[in-house]
């Protein structure tokens, strides 16, 4: 596969060392030039010398000085460019090595032309994957990702090559500095001017609509310096880009918080001034003000979650999404380190969820799930780590309770139509794919969906996300084709889910009308607990197979929290089950009746 004339084989043979060595050589020459020629213009015209000879000498000296300045600028430009290109090549080679490691780990080979060839034997059928379909999907996903990554590495390499060529062309044409320019006073200034021109641009990110694999490959080709520059100078290009490493997304989104707050406050102040003293005609503007206020409150909530009381950033949390461009704020916050955790769970909440209102509670509950999962793993001699992400990267609908009928971006039509779930599902699928793409070793991934979030999760998992286990709780159904009339949707939507066979779980508590009554309408398909192939987990006051005394969950809202109905707080069966699945130990879950 060639990319504007550059082949994969060419790039794999790049090496940064010669250019790094050149920087040292150029630095010595540059300093020598500055030392011997700085006073050239002044010494050519001794004081008291005049006449035609003096003028000729002055003209000659000026030409020599111009040439010296051009040399200084060229040297500085080349020195800067050589350093930057050496740095950039290191980044590109990092991208190359990531692709090669990934290919080797999955038994693919990359040809000189960038073509991808599989060397794996046919998939082995297992109990969890009886027809090998899951293994085939996984291989197809990896192959596509490899192709995308090769393309992105070549694109970055081409970008570096073009930038370096532009610098060299300027040097060869002796136009490193403007001959007519008269603002220079010495060679050092000329050198500085040349150094600025010699700086390389950072490869532009993939365009809108790029896949997480594209983004991951682009990011992998950047040097650490380039990454840092992007995070601090252009955080909007990094923070919400699925496929970029979690640490970088988090840093970029944290940089965005004060910027977004300032923008929103300005919008608020402007709109408030426009509506001052107006009557009913200002109602739309007043509602818009409420939208903005909710977003400002959301930023405050995120700030609180992400920082410790001492003011420092909480090292155990990552801000993976921050977006205030819609009707309401969207965010995703991880407990733990998504870049390194062996188990990553992504929890999608449902109706009435909002960043400014209940994000902190969700993140806390997911931290408890993480704590329990890690303890379970450690008990079995596995010290691997867990990260749990609360993903509110969509705008779930709200029902008009508690005076929320006018709440920003949330309305009954969203609930009725299911559009928010479909829209959210695409974003969620990209987010999940991005976690896998951002890492060279894919984690065990679990998708957790509650209520309307289970519908969103179910639709997202129809795509090839790399999710290994899925848990639906308090679910009204998981079909992507809601009934348009009173006739219920039939069929088994589980067949469309791209998760390993036997790795989809459902929890439906007693007294939960969403899980037990809504499916009677069949709007979102049959009740998940009735689906063939869905493992029903218990929410009852179970005594487990191994003798655990657990407490029942009741109603729609207690799946991930301890029971607080009595004087004590007791772990519920459903919370235990969620932790066991997240830990990748479903054999310790408690089956439902």
């Amino acid at each position: 596969m060639g990319f504007w004339g550059m082949s994969w084989g060419d790039v794999t043979r790049w090496t940064p060392e010669p250019l790094a060595d050149l920087v040292g050589v150029l630095n010595n020459r540059y300093n020598q030039l500055l030392g011997c020629a700085d006073e050239l213009r002044a010494t050519a015209m001794p004081e008291g010398w005049s006449g035609p000879a003096a003028e000729a000498a002055a003209a000659r000296a000026a030409k020599l000085a111009d040439a010296a300045e051009e040399h200084a600028a060229e040297g500085a430009s080349l020195r800067r460019a050589a350093g930057d290109v050496s740095d950039a090549i290191t980044g590109v080679l990092h991208g190359v090595h990531e692709v090669q490691s990934m290919a080797a780990a999955h038994e693919f080979a990359i040809g000189e032309d960038g073509s991808i060839t599989s060397h794996a034997p046919p998939p082995v059928c297992t109990e969890a994957d009886p027809d090998g379909a899951q293994a085939a999907r996984d291989r197809q996903r990896i192959e596509v990702e490899l192709q995308d990554r090769v393309q992105e590495v070549l694109r970055s390499a081409e970008d570096v090559d073009n930038d370096f060529c532009a610098v060299l062309d300027r040097i060869l044409s002796n136009h490193e500095i403007d001959p007519a320019g008269d603002g220079r006073t010495d060679l050092a200034a000329a050198g500085n001017s040349g150094a600025a021109l010699g700086a390389l641009s950072i490869p532009a990110p993939p365009p809108v609509g790029a896949t997480p694999a594209d983004n991951a490959a682009w990011w992998a080709t950047l040097s650490q310096n380039q990454k840092n520059v992007l995070i601090h100078d252009h955080p909007e290009l990094v923070g919400n880009r699925d496929g970029v490493e979690a640490w970088a997304r988090s840093q970029a989104n944290l940089v965005m918080v004060p910027k977004l707050r300032a923008q929103l406050q300005q919008q608020y102040d402007t709109l408030a001034a426009q509506t001052a003293g107006k009557g009913a005609e200002a109602l739309p503007a007043i509602l818009a003000l409420e939208d903005i206020q909710h977003k400002l409150d959301s930023l405050d909530a995120v700030d609180k979650i992400m920082h410790l009381p001492t003011g420092g950033v909480d090292p155990n949390k990552q801000l993976l999404t921050l977006d205030v461009s819609g009707h309401a704020a969207k965010a995703a916050i991880a407990n733990g380190n998504v870049d390194t955790a062996q188990h990553v769970a992504v929890f999608t909440p449902g109706m009435n969820s909002a960043v400014n209102e209940n994000m902190a509670g969700y993140v806390h509950d997911m931290n408890n799930v993480r704590d329990d999962a890690q303890n379970l793993l450690l008990r079995y001699g596995d010290g691997s780590s867990v990260a749990t992400v609360t993903w509110l990267g969509y705008e779930p609908p709200a029902v008009p309770v508690g005076g929320k009928i006018f709440e920003a971006g949330k309305s009954v039509p969203d609930l009725v139509g299911g559009d928010a779930a479909v829209d959210g599902a695409n974003k969620l699928a990209q987010f999940d794919q991005g976690i896998n793409a951002s890492r060279t070793s894919e984690p065990h991934m679990t998708a957790l969906g509650h209520s309307y979030g289970s519908l969103t999760t179910g639709i997202a998992l129809q795509q090839n996300t790399g999710v290994d286990d899925a848990v639906f709780f308090g679910s009204p159904g998981i079909t992507d084709t809601p009934a348009l009339g009173p006739i219920p949707v039939n069929g088994n939507p589980l067949q469309h889910l791209q998760v390993p066979t036997g790795h989809a779980y459902d929890l439906a508590a007693q007294g939960d009308p969403i899980a037990n009554d809504v499916p009677l309408i069949g709007r979102y398909g049959p009740a998940p607990q009735s689906l063939d192939g869905m493992d029903q987990l218990s929410t009852d006051a179970a005594v487990t197979l191994d003798g655990q005394q657990l407490t029942a969950s009741h109603g729609h809202s207690e799946y991930t929290k301890v029971d607080t109905s009595g004087a004590q707080r007791v772990q519920t069966t459903s919370e235990y089950n969620l932790s066991a699945v997240v830990a990748g130990m479903p054999q310790y879950t408690i089956p439902g009746s």
């Binding site: 609180k304 979650i305 009381p309 090292p315 155990n316 909440p349 449902g350 009435n352 209940n358 902190a360 509670g361 969700y362 806390h364 509950d365 931290n367 408890n368 704590d371 890690q374 303890n375 450690l378 008990r379 079995y380 001699g381 010290g383 029902v399 309770v401 508690g402 929320k404 009954v412 609930l415 009725v416 139509g417 209520s451 309307y452 308090g474 809601p482 009934a483 348009l484 009339g485 007294g511 939960d512 009308p513 969403i514 009554d517 809504v518 309408i521 709007r523 487990t544 191994d546 003798g547 655990q548 005394q549 729609h556 809202s557 207690e558 607080t564 109905s565 707080r569 007791v570 235990y576």
Partner: protein
């Protein structure tokens, strides 16, 4: 199609609203977001003032855990205790707490573990040792109990929502997390953190 959508949604909406009226629905999908409660911030802060601070609680529970480990070592030969890699963590208090999340905090200890499992024949004795020490520190309510040869677990709660986990399979682990407590700084201040 819009009409059909609306008709289909009305009954769904009715069910949803019915569900949201449930007093137990104070968490997900409800009228009371998890970050708030019906108790005022001041009332809740006053209640939390009656509890030991987070730092006091943590220190107290670390002491308890060391006593448990020492007891298991001297009585059952479970030794060579190590802490899980990483650092202890803190978090806000989560759903049901409207107190400022920088005033009220929870603490997650790193699990302490030994690569020596408890022999199943000694599990009852181990539980008694742990329960005896833990109860003197307030962990007197049993939440979970697993009594299988390949999976032994005892989880105890204190009255603040804290949890002590003692388990053994391949490793023996002792871990805890606290319930909601004011930080030393908040307790010393004595009033809720001013809103900015």
């Amino acid at each position: 199609m819009k009409l059909a959508n609306t008709v289909a949604g009305i009954s769904l909406l009715a069910l949803v609203l019915a569900g949201c009226d449930s007093p137990s629905s104070q968490y997900l999908d409800n009228a009371h977001p998890s970050g708030t409660s019906t108790v005022s911030v001041q009332q809740q802060f006053d209640q939390l003032m009656q509890r030991p601070s987070l730092e006091e609680t943590t220190s107290h529970y670390e002491e308890m855990r060391q006593k448990i480990a020492d007891s298991l070592t001297s009585n059952l030969g479970i030794s060579n205790w190590n802490k899980r890699e990483g650092q202890p963590e803190t978090d806000g208090c989560g759903s049901g707490y409207s107190v400022d999340s920088w005033d009220g905090r929870t603490y997650y200890a790193q699990a302490l573990f030994s690569k020596t499992p408890v022999a199943y024949a000694q599990w009852q004795q181990a539980k008694s040792l742990v329960s005896g020490i833990a109860s003197s520190y307030g962990f007197s309510m049993a939440a979970l109990a697993i009594d299988k040869p390949d999976n032994m677990d005892l989880e105890l709660n204190d009255s603040y929502g804290g949890k002590l986990t003692f388990g053994s399979a391949v490793n023996t682990i002792i871990s805890f997390r606290t319930g909601c407590h004011l930080t030393d700084e908040a307790k010393k201040r004595g009033t809720p953190r001013p809103t900015s």
